[in-house]
Structures are given as structure tokens and as C-alpha cells.
């Protein structure tokens, strides 16, 4: 997948609003592979909706979203299975980790599906993000900041053309945010992937090629 293209897209919930000041909704926007995009948003502007549209679990919008030249609305279930495990990775705002599994088990749950990372590579990532000691701790007993790091590791355990991070550092200090940015950059450069980060306050420290206001 080389390009994500938004063609006059608008969430149904905003259909009656007239004073929309967005650079994304109702515009033609394209995200290129290899680019780094920051989407700045205030609350309630449809940030998580955008992520869910792109990840195919909601479709309550007008206009079109295209992956390369393929419309993603009404795609089959199997299309999304492939997209989610081979082409597009998402770090959910709500993380979607399983609290009853350990940090490592949560990561392995993804990696067992994709077989993308070796055990050593996973260990490395835990090291880099300073949570190696928490590998065998139940996720339910970890702080949100720690969970955000586990979720990042999990989202990196797959091949991807684009990675979307929905408020990835909301609960992290600057030092940890920097480490996270470093790891993310390294992984996405390796795959020449596009990065799309959303933020309502603190930005993940990256050299963005484009900043868009939602």
C-alpha cells in the first residue's frame, strides 16, 4: 500500500455542522508511504473516528477513503484481516490490551499471528522502552504509561506500510516519549513505512513532514 487518500470524507455526526475548520474533513488529503504526519486535534473533532475508519471497524462517514485506488468501504472481512496483519498497524488510544495476560503474552498474541519478530527482538524492544522488568507482569497491574509502551511494542510486531498512533504518549514523560519516538522511527524506516500520529496536546517528538489540523 503506497497511499491513503481521503476524498471529501466527513463523519456522519458532523454532517449538519456548517463552521467546520478542519484540514482533513471535507478535504482531499493523501498520506504517502514514508511520510510522517501529525494530526493535531482538540477533543471531539473526530480523531478516534478517523482511526476507526482507517482501521475498518466503523464506516459512518460520507465521502470516500481509498487505500491506493481501492475504496475501503464495504470490503470483505478477509480484506481487513490481511490489512490489519500485513499493511496497517494501529496503536489504539484505549490500547486494547488484555489485562488478564502479561505484557509479554499480549505482545506474543500479535507476534504469533504474524511471526514477524524474533523473541530476541521483542526482548530488545522491551529493553529500549525500559519495561524489561515488567514483561511477566499482568497488564492489568501496570500503569497506563507502561501499558502505552507495551501497546507500541505490540503494534510494531507486524509488517506495515503505515502505522497509526492515536495519542501514543498521553501518559508518558518526555524522556520516555523520546525513546518511543526513536524506536518507532527506526522500525518504520526499516520498512519505509508512513507514520500518522494524532495528538491533542503533547506531540510525539518526530521530524514531521506535514502537520494537519483536524
Amino acid at each position: 500500500m503506497e497511499k491513503i487518500f481521503l476524498n471529501n470524507t466527513l463523519p456522519d455526526i458532523f454532517s449538519s455542522e456548517t463552521d467546520l475548520r478542519s484540514e482533513i474533513w471535507k478535504h482531499n488529503v493523501s498520506f504517502e508511504r514514508g511520510g510522517r504526519y501529525l494530526i493535531e486535534a482538540s477533543s471531539g473533532t473526530g480523531k478516534s473516528s478517523l482511526c476507526s475508519y482507517l482501521y475498518g471497524y466503523r464506516a459512518d462517514y460520507s465521502g470516500d477513503i481509498l487505500f491506493d485506488n481501492q475504496k475501503i468501504r464495504d470490503q470483505k472481512v478477509s480484506f481487513w484481516d490481511t490489512i490489519r496483519s500485513r499493511h496497517l498497524s494501529l496503536l489504539f488510544q484505549e490500547l486494547c490490551l488484555f489485562p488478564e495476560l502479561t505484557a509479554l503474552e499480549n505482545v506474543l498474541l500479535k507476534n504469533n499471528l504474524t511471526n514477524y519478530k524474533s523473541a530476541a527482538a521483542i526482548d530488545d524492544m522491551f529493553d529500549q522502552l525500559d519495561i524489561a522488568g515488567k514483561k511477566n507482569t499482568l497488564v492489568g497491574k501496570m500503569s497506563w504509561g507502561q501499558q502505552q509502551r507495551v501497546a507500541l511494542i505490540r503494534s510494531l510486531c507486524q509488517p506495515f506500510d503505515f502505522i497509526i498512533l492515536d495519542e501514543p504518549i498521553s501518559h508518558l514523560d518526555d524522556e520516555n516519549a523520546r525513546k518511543m519516538a526513536e524506536l518507532l522511527l527506526h522500525e518504520s524506516e526499516e520498512q519505509n513505512a508512513g507514520i500518522i500520529v494524532t495528538s491533542i496536546g503533547k506531540h510525539l517528538p518526530l521530524d514531521y513532514s506535514k502537520v494537519l489540523l483536524l
Binding site: D81, F98, R154
Partner: protein
């Protein structure tokens, strides 16, 4: 798979699954046992078994008040015979041919100085219907003697009734076979004809004094009054004595059947009803237990729905995440199939013991059929389970 299973097996209620298993085990066992029992026992009622081997019945019309007083023949017309032949339970129909001449039979022994004479009658039926196999059973017009078959009842009546009470010697079939009867045939138009009669055997099946059909044809032609006579009695070979239609057919036609073979058909009918009721009960129980399983899986899916959704979002395919539930339900169904087959085979051993005490030789239906039916139900239930699970998870 291990991690997914670890996630999804939470919230499984053992009590619910045991409840389902128990109910389904009872239902399936009842269904299979009823079918197996029916298959084992039904040969007893059909002609294959010796118990009801007498698959011949003698059919006559009821003697009513009016028809009884008039001497007019109340026999079977050819249309009635044809109709009878068309019935699905009828294999062959043979007519009793009455003699159209008078017969005197006597037994005179000069040496012993005894003798008696009696007026009597002959009847004949086609040879296929006769249960006495004798070389002697033939007649040609040149012969001066004619073979006769008497009902076994007559001999029994003498031996066990008369002879017993009068302390007279009993007669064996062989001994009677040595006796020659003097037979005289009378007609209005011709000289009486003297012949010898010899007793060729005793019949269990046919309750009359029989002579060969060939003799009867010849004698009726020579000494009869050449009138067309409808046969008053028919002998019918029945293909399936257990056919419930048999009894109702004869009843509506107003025919009487000799012998009481129709009990078999009544019993078979009731057996069918009882097995039917038991089957329905089994099916209902099975159905209810199936709902218990579906409900408990629904509940399980509902409790785990957010996990399933998350698994789907991190890229697991639908078929992958529903597999644990499919395996669970199929495995449960399979265990129940095996258990219920065991129950059926054990129970069958027990009732066969009891049956064998009453009936010596019954032909056993093979249990392969019941295993086939069990597997069929298992496949059907499992497919339904899988379908329901797949529809529930989107």
C-alpha cells in the same frame, strides 16, 4: 492458539456444559435406543421369523342370517378375488374348489370284522398352497386311488380328545397312512364310481379334506353338474403379516380370516406407536438440550465479546477466534455421541438377554445402522452449533 484459548476459555461455565451434556446424553440415548429396539424387534413381527411363520390365511365371507338360510352360493366373485390380489400385503391367492358330487367314504376290514361309512366332501386348492410335501400327491384319470390330506386337527382331536378319554390306542400319522379308504362317488346322471383313498398326510394349514387339484378338475368334469361355482373360501399367502392394513382391509370387506395371525399385525401396529412416542420424547429432549448448549455458548460469546472484537482488531481472522468455541461444542457433541452409543449397546445387551428367553431365534439387526444414525445426529448438531457461533461473531 494457546494464548487465544487462555483468553477465551475464561467465563466458561462448567455447570452449564455439564447440564447440556447430561440432557443431550439422555435425549440421544433415548432416540438411538428406540430405533435400535425397533430394528431388533420388528423381524419378530414380519415373516422372516419362525414365530409368525404361518403367513397363509384362509378367507371366507361371514355367514349372515339370510345367506345362511338360502342355499345360494355366497362365494367370492372373480372381481373380488382380483381386488384381493391387488392388495400390497397379498402375495398369492388360491381358491378352494368344492366337489360338485357326493362322496361316501368307508373303512371296511374283513379280517377285523369292522366297518363304517360316512358321507363326506372333498375340496382342493392349488398345490403350491399345501404344506404337506408328499411324492404321493398326484392323480391321473387312469388311477384307481386318490391321495387325501386331512387336517391335523382331526388327528389331534381323536388322539388327545377321544382316545385319551376312552383309553383307546393313539394313532400315528404313519399308521393312518397304511389305511385304505373305500371311496364312492355318486352323481345323478352316472354310475357310482368306486375308488380307493389313501391318506397322504395331515395339514396344519388347511382345515378341510383335500384332494389334488387335478383329481378335482377331472372329477368335477365327469361327475359334477357343470355349474359355475364361486369359491366359498380362499387361501391367501400374505407377504407381510404385520401389515396393519391387512386387518382393516378384511374388516371393511366383511371377510373372516381363519387363524389368529392378525394379532401380529395389531402388535406391530402398537409397537410402532409406542416406539414413535418414545422417539418423539427423545427428540424433544435432544432439542431442548441443544438449546441449552446454544444458550450457554451464546452467553459465553457475549461475555467474551469485547475480547473477540479486540482479537479481530489486532488481525485475528473470524474463523480463528471462533475456533475454540467450535472445538468446544464439537468435542462435547462427540463425547456425548460416544457415551450414548455405549449406553445403547449396554442396554441392548440387557434387553436381548430378556428377549432371548422368550424367543429362541431372532435375527439381530446390526448396530452399524444405529452408529450411522448417531454420527448423523452428531454431524447435524455440530454443524448447527458452528453455524450459530459464526453468525453470532461478526
Amino acid at each position: 492458539m494457546k494464548l487465544v484459548w487462555k483468553l477465551l476459555r475464561e467465563n466458561i461455565s462448567k455447570a452449564q456444559l455439564i447440564g447440556f451434556g447430561f440432557a443431550n446424553l439422555i435425549g440421544l440415548s433415548i432416540i438411538l435406543l428406540a430405533i435400535q429396539f425397533y430394528m431388533d424387534i420388528s423381524p419378530v413381527f414380519s415373516e422372516k421369523d419362525k414365530l409368525f411363520k404361518k403367513d397363509y390365511v384362509t378367507v371366507s365371507k361371514q355367514v349372515g342370517l339370510i345367506s345362511g338360510l338360502t342355499a345360494r352360493s355366497g362365494g367370492f366373485s372373480s372381481a373380488e378375488i382380483e381386488d384381493l390380489e391387488k392388495q400390497p400385503f397379498v402375495k398369492k391367492v388360491g381358491a378352494f374348489t368344492p366337489s360338485q358330487f357326493s362322496v361316501f367314504a368307508g373303512f371296511n376290514n374283513q379280517n377285523m370284522g369292522v366297518g363304517f361309512n360316512t358321507e363326506m366332501f372333498f375340496e382342493s386348492v392349488p398345490d403350491d398352497f399345501i404344506d404337506v410335501k408328499s411324492e404321493d400327491w398326484k392323480f391321473s384319470p387312469e388311477d384307481t386311488s386318490v391321495p387325501i390330506i386331512l387336517p391335523k386337527n382331526y388327528l389331534d382331536l381323536y388322539n388327545f380328545g377321544f382316545a385319551e378319554s376312552k383309553s383307546m390306542p393313539k394313532l400315528t400319522e404313519g399308521l393312518i397312512g397304511l389305511v385304505n379308504l373305500d371311496i364312492t362317488i355318486f352323481t345323478k346322471y352316472k354310475e357310482p364310481k368306486q375308488m380307493k383313498g389313501r391318506i397322504a398326510g395331515f395339514s396344519n394349514r388347511i382345515n378341510t379334506i383335500l384332494v389334488p387339484q387335478s383329481f378335482m378338475t377331472w372329477a368335477n368334469a365327469h361327475y359334477g353338474n357343470n355349474m359355475e361355482v364361486h369359491p366359498a373360501r380362499l387361501i391367501v399367502e400374505i407377504s407381510n403379516i404385520a401389515d396393519p392394513n391387512l386387518d382393516s382391509y378384511f374388516k371393511t370387506k366383511g371377510y373372516e380370516i381363519s387363524g389368529d395371525n392378525t394379532t401380529a399385525s395389531k402388535m406391530a401396529f402398537f409397537l410402532k406407536i409406542i416406539v414413535g412416542i418414545v422417539l418423539i420424547v427423545g427428540v424433544v429432549i435432544c432439542f431442548l438440550s441443544f438449546f441449552v448448549l446454544v444458550l450457554s455458548i451464546y452467553l459465553l460469546l457475549e461475555k467474551n465479546m469485547s475480547k473477540l472484537r479486540t482479537l479481530r482488531l489486532i488481525g485475528y481472522s473470524k474463523s480463528y477466534v471462533v475456533r475454540p468455541y467450535e472445538i468446544l461444542s464439537v468435542a462435547l457433541n462427540f463425547i456425548i455421541l460416544v457415551l450414548s452409543l455405549a449406553v445403547v449397546l449396554i442396554a441392548r445387551g440387557k434387553y436381548l438377554n430378556e428377549i432371548n428367553k422368550v424367543l429362541t431365534t431372532i435375527e439381530l439387526a446390526s448396530p452399524v445402522c444405529i452408529i450411522g444414525i448417531g454420527v448423523g445426529i452428531f454431524v447435524l448438531l455440530s454443524l448447527l452449533n458452528i453455524l450459530i457461533i459464526r453468525r453470532k461473531v461478526s
